[in-house]
Every structure is written in structure tokens, then in C-alpha cells.
Symmetry: C2
Subunit: 375 residues, 2 copies
């Protein structure tokens, strides 16, 4: 980026300032919906693809090239920080991550290996390579979002030993042994936070914490047993700044090192997203998020209302509509965008990840459509 | 029942009148948590067990004998009315119901076979046998609740061809072809409603409509694309009455045929339950439910508030707490019961089904604990 470059629309929106057009990207935009991804993955396991820097970077760049989205999101898997720490886990096709040994007791928690910065070298290398690649796409300013699963989602995987529907074993441990639970959540928070930190230090311009499974807990449990760890995870990037063109405008901004270069250093924007978390939105903001992601279950204006009107939001296209005829999908997009007017700023996204069977042409069409509108 | 028998606490609570002690039963109380169930099922497929009257009755009675719960719930499976209509479906262990051919188009919907009253004969026989068996347990007044999956849940199975996480194909059809969707939902509503009707005519004293998957739709979609069919399903039992001891007290009550026998005929109580449906509770009441079931995600007093304070509620023990030490579970039970004071009446239940690995002794202990308290 040069001092003449505009602030990327994504970063502007994440800071609560509406850009001329609504930025748009798609959760799980890198992945199975793209034929070029399916081709590239041949002969590579999922976790290998995440940990091979060149491959992870290329997969991350594919949807940026194809769709012209306003952000790249680093291609990774929720269990990568656990794997890198030394936890025995593999991705089993059609099932998801399966762990060698579920974590069920205080002793199991105490025996978890510690994730170090060195362990994260393949991730840092992949991010650096991605950021370099992004400079060669379009006007070279597309930002990269760093990615991590939130502590609850990581802990649920660890306790269950794999995917589960209502995360009963994890939620039992939460109440049956609150100390072991707190220790596990602190461990997961550090794994999650260090994973995010490595990505920002390597060049990511924003981070998103995914709490895929937070929707299975009550607000009371969320506030007392989950939120402190999510705050701890985001705390690992609280001191990090990213450089953007412009002038200091908000609390936390710092003038650039060189006078007159019109660059400022801003705190890295932090997005927090969960599925089925309509009841939890303010609590999810309060862990230190700048932006809150909203699934498709509640209208965006209602989400904004629950958030008190002052928080930028991201979402909330119903993924089921991607397979509907275009006029139906367009009406839905217009509805989401209209409801987003209640927020200080909005980043258009799905309410959950791109379904694997999605026609990628539909995603490109959404980007073109949204970029053709002016706010 | 004789004219001297008290109104069963369950029926009293379902009518909004608090009995001396809180009635309690458990969703999926009949099933894999019981060793006597696992033994009885040997050599019988799930669907065979549901359709063999003697077996279904015995399985239904097992938890009443063991736990002393305040209700039996007829042992069945959500897909039974579809199976009886002639839809090709089998239960695959570890996966759930799998259909020969998903229903995806208007033509597929039009080709669905019609469920008739005659098809439901095995269900009616199982219910009659259960009601007879209940007369021999305790004081002989334990009521039987009839069971059916709600139209959305049935339709989601049919469209997906099996279990699915976010019911994308079903929710796509809902928007992509609203007419085919409406026709499918009407078909499912009749299957669901006739299934309930057969159970009430054979002796069930109440019904519960389970919309396991309604939590995946927004309120707007629920109201326009789901609720009309749920209302249609419950409409199939709207004219049915059940006889209970007592005197006419409420709208819809009718005096018994014989003067002086102190029996009244009341409209069959209708319970409506879904998982993750905190946003939908009033809409779920408005389809014609007398009682609303609440999962564990929102506190019961908040559910009562959303329901306007006038509706009896059922729930909402967190199933994850069943495996916690008793003092933790007891504190949770006391909290649920205290919050239930906001409702006109409350039936204690789980926020979802009994997990298969549950220690059945814990369920018995819950019943004894609750019956030992006076309201």
C-alpha cells in the first residue's frame, strides 16, 4: 500500500465508517465450492493443505481472484493450533476432526502440550506468502483476515474427541468440574490467541474469532464459563496494530513513523462470529470485539438493535438462498442490505460458511451485484 | 379412572392449574438409557419396534414403571407416519432415517402417497395396549401423551433424504419453489395430524408436536412458511376431547354424558416443542398450542415473559447436567423450578431428549426429588 491508496473498504467498515460500496466476502469462500480448490487438494490431506505455506496461500487467494471479494480469509482449520501444539488429531472425511484421546479430566487438561510461537512457523509463512500474493491481485490492497476457532469451540472438540451435536460432554464438564473447565478454556484461549497473533504479525489486517458452537450454551453459561476465555484469546492481539492509509481518527490510532506519509497505525480490527447466537450478541461484543457477525436466524436490524446500534455488523445472507433462483436471492440481498442501514457499517457475508455444493458463479454474481450498488 | 380419581397432575398443569407437586417426565424417557429397553430391542429394528403394538406399548411403559414419571409418551419415531403412508425409509444405525428418494420438486410432492386412517392401525393398537398397561401401574391414572414430528421436521427429512445439520435443501425449496413447499408442508401436516389423531382416538390424553428442527429458520420464515402447516397438523385434533374427573371450568369443556359423575370432557391438551426456538416461542404457541416446551438455552422465566405470562410451559433442564454431580444438578433443578413460578403452570422436563448414555438412576432421583417438593 502507498500513501495514495484508499483505505480498503473492509477495514473502513470494520472501523465503523461506511465505504462507498458495501464490502463483501464469504465465510469458507476458500474451499470445496471451487473447482480449482478441489484440483489443488488432490493428494493433500486437509491438515497438510493448511500447514504447507504455498498451498495454504494459493487456496486463500483463489476466491479473491475468482470472485473479487473485499477480503481474503486465511485458509486453515479450527484444529490447526491444537495440531501444532502436539495434540493428536486428524480430519476424517465425512466426519470432521477426530482426536486420539478426549480431554475429560483436570489431569487430561494439565497434560495438554503448550503451543509455542515456534510451532506456528508454518502458519506465519503461509500468511506472509498470502499477503505477498494479494499485492498482485486487483489494485493490490485486498486485506487478509486472520482466523481462529474460539476457545469454547476448541474445548468442545477436545472434550468430545470430535464433532458433536449439542456438545453435551463439554457442557457437562463445564458444570461438573468448573476448575478443570476453566483451565481447559484458558489453554484453548492461549492456543486460539497465539494463532491469531501469529497471523497478524505475519501480515493479516484483521482477525475473526469463530465460535461455531457457542449457540449451544445459555447466556448465563456463556457469560460466566465462555466469555472470559474468548476475551483472553482476543487479548493476545489487543496490543497489535496494522498500518492503513489515512489520518488518526479514533481512540487507539497512532500516527505513522514518518511524518507526511498519511499512514496511521490502528488497532487490528477484531470480528467475532457464532452460529445460533442471537441471544449472545452483546456478550460476544463485550469480549473485546469491534465487529459482530450474525447468522441468518435473526434479521440484521434486530441484531443491530440488540447490539445497541453502535457496532459494525457482518452477515447475514441465508446460505439456503444461494441455491434459489437469482430474483429470490437478489430480493434477499436487498433486504439484508436495507436492514444493515441500522448499523454504523456493514460487511456483507453469509450467515454461515459456503455450502460445498454451491455454484461459485452465484458468489461472483453476488459480489458484482453488491459492488454495483452505492450506499 | 373413577369419579373419585384426582385429575392427573400432568393434565392439570397442561390446563394451566398448578397441581400440588410439579409433574415431571422426560423426552425420550423410553429408549436407550434403559437396560430393559436395550434388552427388549434385541432382534427388532427401530421401526419394527414402533409398529409392533405389544413391543411399542411395553417400551412406552418401561420408564413409567421404573421412574414413576407423571406421563408416558408413546414410543415412536418421527418418520413412522411417513413409513405407514408408504414412503421408502429405513433407520440406519448411527445415522438416522434414510429415504429411498429425496423429495425435491413439485412432481415429487405430488407423487407422495396419501396416509389413511387404516394405515395407522398398528399405532392405534399400540396406544390402546399402552393405555391398558398404564391402568396397572401405580394408581392407574398416569396419562399417555401422543407424539408426532411437526410438518417442518418431517418435510426437512423428506427433502434432505435423511438427517442434515442446517436443513439447507429444505430451506432452499421453501424459497425457490414456495408452491411446492406449501404442498409438501400440507402433506406433512396431514400425516402429522392424522398420526396424532389416531393416538388420541385410541386413548392418549394429550399430544406433543415436536418440531426438532424449527430452530434453523428465522421467525419470518417460521411465521409464513412453517406455522400454517403446524396449525393444520394440530387442527386434526382440535375437535377431540378427553375425559377427566372434575367439573367444567374452562372454555371448550363439556359436561359428561351422565349427570353427577363429575367427569368432564376437555379439549385434548396440545404441547408444542422445538430445539433452539427461543425466538419462535410466541409463534409456536399461536399455531394452537396450549403448552409450550422450552429447550435449555433460555431461562424459563424469560420464556414465560416472551409468551406473555399466560401459557403453561414445559422444560427446561439442561441435558448436559444429567451427568454432573447431584448437588450441581439439584441446584439446576431448583433454579428451573424457581423460574417456572412465573408461569401459570409448569411440567418439568429436559430441554431435549434423554442422552442415550444417561444413568437412569439419575432420572429416577430427579422424579423423587421433584415429587418430594410442594409448590
Amino acid at each position: 500500500m502507498t500513501s495514495a491508496a484508499p483505505v480498503a473498504p473492509l477495514i473502513s467498515a470494520y472501523r465503523g465508517v461506511r465505504p462507498a460500496t458495501t464490502p463483501v466476502w464469504f465465510m469458507r469462500q476458500a474451499g470445496r465450492s471451487l473447482p480449482e480448490y478441489r484440483e489443488l487438494r488432490i493428494g493433500h490431506s486437509m491438515l497438510d493443505a493448511c500447514l504447507e505455506p504455498e498451498l495454504a496461500a494459493e487456496i486463500t487467494l483463489q476466491p479473491v481472484r475468482r470472485h473479487g471479494v473485499d477480503a481474503a480469509i486465511f485458509f486453515s482449520d479450527i484444529v490447526i493450533p491444537l495440531k501444532l501444539a502436539g495434540v493428536g488429531v486428524e480430519i476424517v472425511a465425512g466426519r470432521g476432526p477426530v482426536f486420539e484421546k478426549p480431554v475429560r479430566t483436570a489431569a487430561d487438561v494439565a497434560a495438554l502440550p503448550t503451543l509455542t510461537v515456534d510451532d506456528l512457523a508454518p502458519v506465519a509463512a503461509g500468511v506472509a506468502r498470502t499477503v505477498e500474493g494479494l499485492r498482485a491481485i486487483g489494485d493490490g490492497t485486498t486485506p487478509l483476515i486472520g482466523f481462529a476457532g474460539a476457545p469454547f469451540t476448541l474445548a468442545a472438540y477436545l472434550v468430545e474427541g470430535g464433532p458433536s451435536k449439542e456438545h453435551l460432554a463439554a457442557r457437562t464438564l463445564m458444570h461438573a468440574d468448573p476448575d478443570a473447565w476453566a483451565a481447559l478454556m484458558a489453554w484453548a484461549a492461549d492456543a486460539s490467541g497465539l494463532f491469531l497473533r501469529a497471523q497478524v504479525l505475519a501480515g493479516a489486517s484483521a482477525v475473526q474469532l469463530f465460535d461455531s458452537w457457542a449457540g449451544s450454551v445459555s447466556l448465563a453459561d456463556y457469560v460466566t464459563r465462555v466469555a472470559p476465555a474468548s476475551a483472553r484469546a482476543l487479548g493476545h492481539v489487543a496490543d497489535l496494530h496494522v498500518e492503513v492509509p489515512g489520518e488518526p481518527a479514533a481512540r487507539g490510532d497512532q500516527a505513522g513513523d514518518q511524518a507526511g506519509d498519511q499512514k496511521v497505525s490502528i488497532p487490528v480490527p477484531k470480528v467475532h462470529f457464532g452460529v445460533g447466537t442471537g441471544e449472545l450478541l452483546p456478550a460476544m461484543r463485550d469480549v473485546g470485539a469491534d465487529v459482530v457477525g450474525v447468522d441468518w436466524r435473526i434479521p440484521l436490524d434486530e441484531a443491530v438493535r440488540r447490539l445497541g446500534g453502535a457496532v459494525p455488523v457482518q452477515g447475514n445472507i441465508d446460505p439456503a438462498l444461494l441455491a434459489a433462483p437469482w430474483p429470490v436471492l437478489e430480493a434477499h440481498l436487498r433486504d439484508v442490505l436495507a436492514r444493515a442501514a441500522a448499523a454504523p457499517a456493514h460487511v456483507l457475508n453469509l450467515g454461515h460458511g459456503v455450502p460445498p455444493e454451491t455454484d461459485p458463479g452465484v458468489l461472483t454474481r453476488i459480489v458484482d451485484f453488491v459492488h454495483g450498488l452505492t450506499q
